[in-house]
Homo-oligomer: 481 residues x 4
C-alpha cells in the first residue's frame, strides 16, 4: 500500500495536538472526545487499523463533510480516501464501515428538539414547518459523507462495491451486524433514490453491442449459465431480444437484464432455447414473448427493485417492434421446490385421496407410501412415464407449492414472489423443462410459465394482497388443497 497523500497531510493536523501521542499532557477537548467516540466505536482487540491510522481516517472522513469545504473539494477528498480504501484489507475495511456507521450518525440532541416541536405542531398550521425541521435534523453527516463519495467518477461504483462487501457481515450474529445496519440502510435509501427507475435507461443488448458488455452477460447470467461466446451469440440471435437497465453513474454495467425468445407458442422447455445449433424461429410468425432469464448484476443494490419496471418496459418495446405479439410469459425455474418438498412431503401425501395414495403406493412399492419411500423412488425422475402416478404426484406438489404456499402472505418460492408480485399468474408446469443437473437439483427438472396478462396485472396484485395466488384453471385443478 502506498501511503496516500492525505496521510502526510493528516500528520500535520496531528502536530497541532502535541499531547496526543504521549500519555502525559492533556489532549484538547475536541480531540479527546474524538478519541472517546473512537473507543466506543472500535472496541480494542478487534480493530484492524492501528489507532493512529484510525484517527487519521476519521479526521479525513470528517474533513470531507466539513461545512467550510466546498462540495467540489469534499468530493476530491472523498476520492483520495476511496483510493486508499482500495488498498486496504477486509478487516481494515470493516473498521472504516464502523467509523462511517457510528461516527456520522444524526445529532441526537437536534433530533430531540425537532421532534418535540413537531409533535406540538401536528394538526396546526405549523405542522409543515415542523415536519421540515425534523426531516432536516435526521439528515445525518453520514448522508452528506456518502453523497460526496457519489460525486466523483467511479464514486458510485465505489459505494455499490462497498455495500456488496458489507452485506454478508449483516447476517453475522453479535452486535457488529447491528452496528453496521445504519450504514447499510442509509446506502439502500440513497441507492433507492439515485437508482430510481426514472433515471434508468432501457437499452437493447445485441450481437452488435460492445464485446466488453456482452462479456458481462456471460459473467452475470444467474439463471442458465452462459457457457461460451457461441452460447451468448445464440441468445442474441434474430429470434431473441435482450434488454438491460443502465444508469448514468455506472455507464457500462447493466443493472439487470432479461433474455427473451420470440416464439409462436408458450415454450415448455429451456432445452431448445439454449440449443446453439437450432435455427432461429420465424419472426413473422411470432405471437409470444418468452422471458426465460432475468438476472440482477449488482449485489450492492440489494433492496432496490428494477425487475417489475424492466419487464413492463420491455413489453412496451416488444409490442412496438412486433405488433402481432399477443402473449407475454416466462419460462422460469422453481428454485425452492425440491427443498420445500423434502420438508413437506408427508403433508402432501396426506392431501392425496385414497385412490391416489394407493396408486402412488404401488409405484413406490409400499402401502401406504411414506415420505422415505417416495423420496427413494424419486432418484430418476426423468425416466418417469407421463402417466406415472409418481410423476403426477410431483406435479401436483409443485402446483401446491407455487399456488398455495405463502410465507408471511407472500409466495414461498423466490421467483414466484417476483413474478406474482408484478401481477403475473402461475400458468403451466412443464415436466422436464430443465433437465440439467441444476434443474434436477432445484425442482426435479420442472419449470413453470408465469403469464403476464397485461389487462389483469393489477387485479392479480390485489388477489395476491388478499392471500390468493392467481393461477390458471389447470394449475388450480392440480392443487391438492
Amino acid at each position: 500500500m502506498n501511503t496516500p497523500t492525505w496521510i502526510s497531510r493528516s500528520v500535520s493536523l496531528l502536530r497541532a495536538a502535541p499531547g496526543e501521542s504521549g500519555g502525559g499532557a492533556a489532549a484538547s477537548p475536541a480531540l479527546r472526545s474524538t478519541r472517546e467516540r473512537l473507543k466506543a466505536t472500535l472496541r480494542r482487540d478487534q480493530e484492524a487499523l492501528s489507532p493512529r491510522i484510525l484517527r487519521r481516517t476519521l479526521t479525513e472522513l470528517q474533513s470531507i463533510v466539513d461545512l467550510r469545504v466546498s462540495e467540489v473539494e469534499g468530493g476530491r477528498r472523498a476520492k483520495a480516501v476511496a483510493e486508499w480504501y482500495a488498498t486496504t484489507t477486509p478487516a481494515e475495511r470493516r473498521d472504516v464501515w464502523l467509523l462511517i456507521s457510528e461516527q456520522f450518525a444524526p445529532d441526537a440532541a437536534k433530533v430531540k428538539g425537532a421532534r418535540e416541536q413537531y409533535e406540538a405542531a401536528v394538526g396546526t398550521p405549523e405542522e409543515g414547518r415542523a415536519e421540515i425541521r425534523l426531516r432536516r435534523a435526521l439528515v445525518s453527516p453520514r448522508t452528506r459523507l456518502l453523497q460526496r463519495f457519489a460525486s466523483f467518477p467511479d464514486g458510485m461504483r465505489f459505494l455499490v462495491d462497498l455495500r456488496a462487501e458489507l452485506l454478508p457481515h449483516l447476517k453475522s450474529k453479535g452486535d457488529e451486524s447491528a452496528r453496521l445496519l445504519a450504514l447499510d440502510d442509509e446506502l439502500e435509501s440513497l441507492f433507492s433514490t439515485w437508482f430510481d427507475v426514472a433515471f434508468l435507461e432501457l437499452r437493447r443488448i445485441s450481437w452488435d453491442s460492445p464485446a466488453s458488455l456482452i462479456e458481462k452477460l456471460i459473467k452475470y447470467e444467474a439463471v442458465h449459465d452462459i457457457r461460451s461466446w457461441s452460447d451468448v451469440k445464440n441468445r442474441l440471435d434474430s429470434d431473441r431480444r435482450c434488454y438491460g437497465f443502465f444508469h448514468p453513474s455506472l455507464p457500462d454495467e447493466p443493472l439487470i437484464f432479461v433474455e427473451v425468445a420470440l416464439q409462436d407458442d408458450v415454450t415448455a422447455s429451456i432445452t431448445p432455447l439454449l440449443d446453439e445449433s437450432a435455427e432461429a424461429s420465424d419472426l413473422t410468425r411470432a405471437t409470444t414473448a418468452i422471458f426465460y432469464s432475468i438476472s440482477n448484476t449488482q449485489t450492492g443494490l440489494r433492496g432496490v427493485s428494477f425487475g417489475d419496471s424492466l419487464i413492463k418496459h420491455v413489453v412496451e418495446e416488444l409490442r412496438a417492434e412486433f405488433p402481432k405479439l399477443r402473449t407475454f410469459a416466462t419460462l422460469s425455474p422453481i428454485p425452492g421446490f425440491k427443498s420445500w418438498l423434502a420438508k413437506n412431503l408427508a403433508a402432501q401425501i396426506e392431501h392425496l385421496d385414497d385412490k391416489q395414495r394407493a396408486e402412488l403406493g404401488k409405484v413406490v412399492d409400499f402401502a401406504p407410501p411414506g415420505p422415505s419411500h417416495v423420496l427413494a423412488a424419486m432418484d430418476d425422475v426423468l425416466a418417469l412415464a407421463p402417466k406415472s402416478p409418481l410423476r403426477q404426484f410431483i406435479v401436483r406438489c409443485a402446483a401446491q407449492y407455487l399456488a398455495r404456499s405463502l410465507v408471511d402472505g407472500k409466495p414461498a418460492d423466490p421467483v414466484a414472489r417476483f413474478h406474482l408480485g408484478n401481477g403475473a399468474r402461475v400458468e403451466r408446469l412443464n415436466w422436464a423443462g430443465d433437465p440439467s443437473a441444476k434443474g434436477l437439483k432445484q425442482s426435479y427438472g420442472l419449470m413453470v410459465n408465469y403469464l403476464y396478462d397485461l389487462k389483469r396485472l393489477d387485479k392479480h396484485r390485489h388477489m395476491l394482497a388478499q392471500g390468493k395466488v392467481p393461477a390458471s384453471g389447470e394449475i388450480d385443478s392440480l392443487c391438492l388443497t
Copy 2:
C-alpha cells in the same frame, strides 16, 4: 377542459358511497374522515375546485400511492393527473398543492412511536436500527407521490414547473404560505438528490449546437440580455466558450450556463465583449478566462446549487483545452449596489476623512455634503472625470459594499455572495464597466472582477466563514473602514 378519463373512473368509486352526497345516511367512516380532512385542508369559500372534483382529485392522488398498485401503474396514474392539471386554472392548482401538502403528510402516530424507540436507543447498539425506523416513519406518502410524478417522461418537467408556480405563494402573508411549506421543502429536498451534481452532465454549447438549444440561451440569459441571433453568435465565437449543466430528466434544458471570454488580460468592461463587430481575439495568446455571465434557468430548482461545481468543472475543461490559461476571473454586475448606497449614503459620507469630505463637498456644491446633495450630483456618472472626487467616492462606496458589508455573515450583494461563497475574492472595480441603462440603474455602471485563485479557494472560504471578505490589496485600500 376535457374530462379526464379518471374522472369517469372516479364516479364509479363514488357510487359505492351512496350516503355521501346527501346529508342523511351515514357515510362510511373512511369517507367521512376523508371529508373531514378535506374540510380541514380546504376552508370553504376559498377553494376553487368544486367539492366533488376535490374529492375525486384526492381519491386519484391516493390511488397513485396505493401500496397495492405497482410503481409502473402508479406512474401511469400520476401522468393522467398531470395531464388534467395542465388544464386547470391557477386557483384550482393552489387547491391541488394544498391537497398534496396537507393530505399526504407523515403518519404522526408512527413518527411518535419511532422517535420514542430512537431516543431510548441512542448510544446503544440499537441506535442504528432505531435511526432507520425513525427515518422511514418520516418518509411521507407525499414523498412517494412526488416520486411517482417523476417517473414518467416529462414528469420531472411537471414537478419543476409546479414548484416554479408555487414559489411566489410562499411569500404571501397569512397561513396559506405556511401550509404549502411542506410541499415546497419536500420538492427542494427531492430535487437536491435528483439533481445532485454527480448526475449532471457538463456540455459545451457552441454555434454547432441545436438552434432550439441556443434559443434557450436567448430566453434564459439573465445578466446581459441577448438581443438577437447575431448577438448570441458573437458570444459563441472562436474566442468564447459557453458551458451548461444538463440533467437526463430535462434533456434539452441547460439548468445553468456560463459564458466565458478568452482574453490576454482581465477585462474591465462588458462593452467590447458584447460588440458583435469586434474581431475574435487570438486564442494562442489567451492567458485569462473571463466568466462574464452566469444564468440559472429553472426557478423551480431554487435552493439546488450548481454554480460552484459548474465553475470548477468549466475551469478544468478550459485548462485541458488551453494549457496556457493562468487567470480565471469574472466580470460581474453589482446588482445591489445602488439601492444599498441609497440607504447607506449618510454613513459612507461619515466614513470619509475631512479632506475627502471637503473635496466631495466642492463637487456637489455643498459643505458639508449631505446625502441628498450627493445623490443629486450622481445623475450623470458616466460624465465624471477619472479624478473627480465624486467618482472616487462612488468607487470607495462600492468597495465598502462588496468587501465590508455582510448580512447574516454573508456578503450583502447576491452575486458577491455566490462567487465569494465559491472561494473567489473581490479583485478589481471597473468604472463604466457596464454603461447600459441596466448597469447604471444597478450600480452606476460599475462592474467588478472576482478572481478565482485555484490554490486559495478553500482558504478564502475559511476567511469568509470567519467574517472576513477576501479581497485584493487594491480593494482593501479603497474601503472606507
Copy 3:
C-alpha cells in the same frame, strides 16, 4: 502572402539546374521541354505569376503526381499547394488552372498506340483487354493530380470552390475558355463519381439541427429568400419538413435541400406558407406534401444532379412517417415566364380565337389588341378580377409556356425542366400564388403545381422523351395550341 514552405524547397530543386536561369549554358532536356511547354501554356504578357513562380508551381504540381512519391506524401504536397493557392489573386489562380488543364493532359502518343490496338481488337476476344488499355491511357496525370487534392481534409472543399471560381471563365469568348474546358470536364467527371447518390446521406434538418447548419439554409435558400431566424423557424415548424443531401467529404454542407409543407390539400399560394404568424396545420389531417422550395448550394458541383433522387428519397421518408399522405406536389415559381412572354406575346395573341381577341381588346382599349397595348395593361396584374379577359389571357399564355414550349426537346422553363425531367406533370396554375416583387417580376405573380404521381413517373418521362409535356386536363384545356 507567406512564402509557402515548398517555395524554399523548390529553390533547392532549381539550384540543381544551374544553367536554367541564365541563358548561356544548355539546360537539361527535361527542363528545357518543361520551359517550352510552359511557354505554350502561358502566352507571355497574360500571365499573372512571375515566370519563376510559374515554374516552381509547375514543379510542385508535378511532384504531387510523381510516381515515386507515395499517395500519402502526394496528398501532403497537394495540401501545401492548396494553402498557398488560398493566398493568390484571381489572375494568379487563372494561371494555375491553365497549368493544370494543359500541362497534365493525357500522353497523346500513348493514347494513339492504345486506340490502334483497340480498333484492331474490336469484335475479337482481345477487345476487353484493349478497351482496358485505352481507358488507362486516357487516365491523365491531371486525374491523379485532382485525386491527390481530394485526399486531405478540406481538399474536396478546395476542389469544389476552385471549380465554382473557374466556371464563369468558361463563358468568356476567346480560346482561354476552350483551354480550361478539359479541367472543368475532368472535375465534373470526378465529382459525378465522388458525389454519386449512393454516397450521399439524406438528413432531416429541423429546429434541433445545429445553428451553424440552419444558418446555411438562410444563406443558400434560392427560391423564397429567408428573411430572419423567425422566418426559418417557421419553415421548420411541426407541419414542415426539410431534408438535405450530405456527403462525407463536405460534412457540414447540405449539397441540396428541399422544404416541404404538410397540408390537407394542394396549396395555391406561397403566402400562407411563409406567414410566420400562421398556426401550424394539423398533422393528423395531412394528406398532401407540398415541395415549395428546392435549392442547390454548391455552384462548383454544377452538372452533378441530385434533385431527382432527393425528391424520391424524401417521398419515401414522408410516406414512412405519414402513412396517410396521398398527394405529392410542388408549389413552384415560373422564373422564365415573363421574359418568354415578352418575346412571344404577338404569337400568343395570334393563337386567340376572334371572340377572345375581341374581349382582350376591350380590356386594353385597343382593337385588335397588339403586344404593346397588352403589355401596357399588365402593369398591375394583382388588381385584375378573376373574370378579367386579360387575366385569363395571361393564364392561358402561362399554360402554353409550360405545357407547349420545348427547347431542344426540353421544357423551356428551367424549373419545369427539372420537375418534368423527374417524371412530374404540370398540374395547376395559381393566380397571385407569389405576389412578392420577385414573383411579379418573374411570372406576373403566377405559380404552378407540379404533381408527382408516383405510379406514372416513368410513363411521364417517356411522354416527355417523345416531345409531349405531361399535363393535367385543366392545363391542356387552357393551352392556346
Copy 4:
C-alpha cells in the same frame, strides 16, 4: 429459386414480339440483333442459363441503363436483378458476367469518331474539348450498369462479392478469362475511385467495439490466426491497438486492419505477443509501436491499395496518443522464404566462402555440402544452437532473399514488397520469431522487422525505385552478395 417479379414482367415484353420464339415469322430487327449478339457472347453448349432466361436477363440489364429511366428507377431494377442473382448457380453467374462484360462494351463507332477528332486536335486549343469527347465515348453502358448496382443499400456488397467470385476465373486458360477481363478491370477502376482513401474512415477497434465486428477480426485475420475470443481479447488489451479502414457503403466491414503492440523495444518474437496469459506491458514506458499483423478482408477489392495509407494514418493516431513513441516497426512473416530457398539453395551455397562452406559441410556431414544434404539437415531448425553454421547459413539466405532478390524490380517476398513499397527498410532478422507450424513451413520460423523511419520513407522509396533494397547495416552485412 423463386421466379423474380421481373421475370413475369419480361414475359409480357416478349409477348410483344410474337415471332421470336417460333422460327417462322421474322423477328423485329432490334430483337434479332440482340439474339445475334447474344449468340456471339454465349457460344451454345456452354451457357448455363436457358436461352429464354438469358434473353430476359439481358433485357432486364438493358432496362437498367435505359436512358429514359430515372437513376432511382434504374437502381430499383438493379436491386431486383441482384436479388435474383443471389439465387443462381455458379455456372449461371458466369453467364451473367459474360453478358455484362461483352454486351455493355463502349460503342466502337463512337469511340472511333471521338479518337479521330482527338488526334486531330492534339496541340491545338481544341485538344481539351476533344479529350473530353473521347473520354465520354469510352464511358461504356457497362459503367452505368455497375453504377446502378452501387446505388442501392447492399449494392456495393453485391459488386464486391461478385468480383471476389469472378477473380479465380481470370486465371483460367482459354479465352473465357480474356472475355471477363473488361468487367474485372471496370470493377477495379470503379472500386479505386469509390474506395479512394479520401472516403475511408480510420476507426479504432477495441474490446468495446461491437462483438459482431470483433467476430470479423477472428474471421479475416490472415497472418496469425485468432484461435478464440480470449485470443482476440488479448490482442485488444491495454498495451495493444487495432485500427481498421471503413467505407460508408460497407459500414460494418473493416476493409483492412492492423494490430499493433506498444513495447519498450523492437519485438523479436511473436510468441509473447500472442500469449494470453502475459501481463499487459506498461504503457507509460512504451517507446515502440510494433505492427504485428495486417490483413486485407475483401478479395473483391484486389488491386485497390489501402495498406500504405493505413499505416501512415495509424502512425499519426499513435503519435497523438503516445507522444513518447519513437520507433515504428513491424514484426512480419517471410511467407516466400522457404519455397524460394528450395529453388535457390545451390546458388546460395555457391555464394559462401570456402571457410563457411567447410563449416556448413561439417554440420551436414558432407563435403562439399550439396543442396540435398543441407535440406536434409534442416528438419529441426528450432534445435540449432545460436552458433550453428547451418543456422547462420539460413539467416544469411534470408537476408539475401529479403535484401537482394528483386523480381521485375520489386522485392520477391510479398510482405517485403508491401512494406518496402511503403518506404520501410529491412531492419532485423529474428531466429525462431514464429516457431508455429505455419512459421516453420513458410520461413523456418524466421521473422523480420521492417522499420518505418518516418523521415526517410520517400528516400527509401527512391532507393527501391533504383533497384536497391533499403536495409540496415546488420542485414547488409549478412547478405551473401
